[in-house]
Amino acid sequence: MFQRILQMLVKEFLQLRRDKSARFRLLVPPVIQILLFGYAATFEVFNVATIVADQDHTPESRALVAEFVHSSRFQVKANATSSAQVEAAIQRSDVHVGIVVPAGFSHRLRAGQEAPIQVLLDGTNSNTALIAGGYVGQISQAFARTQATSLLAASGHALTAPRVAIEMQPRFWFNPNLDSRWFFVPGVIGSLVLVTIVNLTAFAIVREREVGTLEQLLVTPIRPVEFILGKTLPFFLIGLLEVAIVAGIGLLWFRVPFTGSAWVLFGGTCLFLLSALGIGLLISTVCRTQQQAFASNFFILNPMFILSGFGFPIASMPEPLQWLTLANPLRHFLVIIRGTFLKGVGLEVLWPEFAALALLATVLLTGSVLRFRKSLD
């Protein structure tokens, strides 16, 4: 039995070695994708193009504007004189944030009245607008507190008046600088491996069927289980290799930390690869031609990718979609891979994901092997 499986293995690797385009597809797209995601995928908000209209021209208004100029979050690109100019700049998409300090600002401040400032946000990118709006709030609140203190001092109440101050000290665990890259790179490893393995498995078997070599194999003494093992084992090994390569790029090039146990990640990867193989096998039992396999892969892999928590929080999805994500192996693997990379947690925390992956792998593999044997008859 082992000899026959071994021979299948040798055949598969030989086939892969001689297929230039397959080798290319295996190596080049993953590397391009991890580089793209590492460099292009970011939700961070720095240097947002900003326009300021200081209509007050007083030390106070200039101090407030200076706070924005010196913040790394905003880049004051232009100074306007009227709110119409600010509005026009936003309409043209030259800037995404406009701040108008109206005339009479400092007068009202000194008189102890509410001094309004207008903030105009381009909401086209809702995420950037939301975060930038938060930073505007923070900067102006800090400014307001300093002003309040100096006003109290000026009125002679500084020493006696009660002063309430709560300093909030946020500490960001697992990703202290809130680097988007740390969030995306581990996720890319999971989604890339899924796509590669499902594609390889489905195509390899459908190709044998299409070309007619499947029947040739069936007349050899090989048994269905041996055939499946011999067919999938190479892809399993390739999957492990690919995880190693892409993880290596993430660690060495993008400097994403790995704080957990490599063994936990290895175990999770094995379970995940088994589920991916199961999906690929299932597709191969349904499709007759490579074209069909390609279309099916797209229709299955694309939803898996979007409903995995890769970039978009599962908690924000409508509830039925949230339930659906539970049947998605990628969702569980992403928890494991981010848990081991960033959080450094082990099985004591990740056991539900391991259990879910084990269950999914069992169901998918059993189902696909049963269907596959039937499709061979």
Binding site: P116, L120, T124, R163, I166, P170, N175, W182, F203, V349
Partner: protein, 378 residues
């Protein structure tokens, strides 16, 4: 170029599409799937973030502050602990995204020179959610502190007017509710166009090679320009129908505002379709197997459209080199146009730059595609 021959090729290609259920499935099912999947699955809004509180103070003030968090729609209180350890375990396990730590004697230190400090432990794994959540938490704490001070000053007879000196009045334009689906869905239209257009056209020439009908085709008097126009015309129509479906769903189902001129969108969609169809055609000419062609076409269009077009990730936040690369991505111009037409109601004149870039792009790829096909067998 003879219209009769072009029409004949177009008719043949159209018949082939109608009789090939797979192509039809891609043409009709894919836009529906993508719209619903991305419309519902891609949300960046942050509501009901699971929160746990470590109340080491257990005073009236600490409970008041916690109540502020409970009342906010941004947070969902999951647990209140007395020590940090169980809260840390919850964050580790991903059950809570953040923990608000209220230190002992918080209520006493509130009214001192040094002030009080509360700690916010945030799970930074999902950096975007963490940024937004920390921002919300800060504004709640700030508002609480200000309110408390005002009431204290009032009680003790001090002038209170100095306490809220700054009144920030934010106005959000184009997407007033900051609804992330309004930001995502117009981009989905571009994504669907890119995938469908290139997928369908990537099969056109490869199919002839694979089915062995190429020799037949080469023996006809059809010229390469007639061939391309005829082959792509049916897909152009399908693309327009798909665009109509997507825009209809965006406006009718997902309630995305459509403020611009339909004509601007129609014109630029035609340009963009010409680009993606030509790219697919170019791939089809150079790769002779259908599977290979559709795979290459998928990678060539889907990845740049998702990552490098400003569809979800803002281009101005990317490193300069990557920003340079995005100028070569046709989807970048189309995504800019679609979003502006939907949300900003921009006119064609305001969008002159991206429209000109897209038109130039279209002219170049169409010319390349028209020249790519050689009437030889090898």
């Amino acid at each position: 170029m003879k219209w009769r021959r072009t029409a004949a090729v177009a008719r043949k290609e159209a018949l082939q599409v109608v009789r090939d259920p797979r192509s039809l499935m891609i043409a009709l099912l894919l836009p529906l799937m993508q719209m619903f999947l991305l419309g519902y699955g891609v949300k960046l809004d942050v509501n009901n973030i699971p929160l746990c509180v470590v109340d080491e103070d257990d005073s009236q003030q600490s409970r008041e502050l916690v109540q502020r968090f409970v009342a906010s729609r941004y947070f969902a209180l999951r647990a209140v602990d007395r020590t940090v350890a169980p809260a840390a375990r919850r964050i580790d396990a991903g059950m809570c995204r953040l923990a608000l730590v209220l230190p002992p004697r918080l209520s006493e230190s509130l009214v001192t020179r040094q002030g009080a400090a509360v700690q916010l432990l945030v799970d930074g794994t999902d950096s975007n959610t963490a940024t937004i959540a920390a921002g919300y938490a800060r504004s709640i704490v700030d508002a609480y502190a200000t309110g408390l001070q005002v009431s204290l000053l009032q009680q003790r007879g001090y002038p209170t007017h100095s306490m809220t000196p700054l009144d920030v009045r934010p106005r959000v334009w184009f997407n007033e509710e900051l609804e992330s689906s309004h930001f995502i869905i117009p981009g989905v239209v571009a994504l669907v166009m890119a995938v469908i257009g290139s997928q369908l056209s990537s099969l056109t020439i490869a199919r002839e090679w694979e089915r062995g009908t190429m020799e037949l085709l080469l023996s006809t008097p059809v010229s390469r320009l007639e061939l391309m126009v005829g082959k792509l015309a049916p897909y152009f129509l399908i693309g327009l129908v798909d665009a109509a479906i997507c825009v209809g769903l965006a406006v009718g189902w997902f309630d995305v505002p459509f403020r611009g001129a339909a004509l601007t969108l129609f014109g630029t969609t035609c340009l963009y379709l010409a680009v993606v169809l030509s790219i697919g055609y170019l791939v089809s000419v150079s790769i002779r197997s259908q599977v290979g062609a559709s795979q290459v076409a998928l990678v060539l269009t889907m990845l740049p459209t998702t990552l490098l077009s400003g569809f979800t990730f803002p281009i101005d936040q990317m490193p300069a080199v990557v920003q340079g690369v995005t100028t070569l991505v046709s989807a970048r111009y189309y995504v800019t146009i679609v979003k502006a037409v939907f949300l900003k109601g921009s006119s064609a004149l305001e969008l002159a730059v991206p429209i000109a870039c897209l038109a130039m792009y279209a002219a170049i790829v169409v010319a390349l595609a028209a020249r790519s096909f050689r009437k030889t067998l090898d």
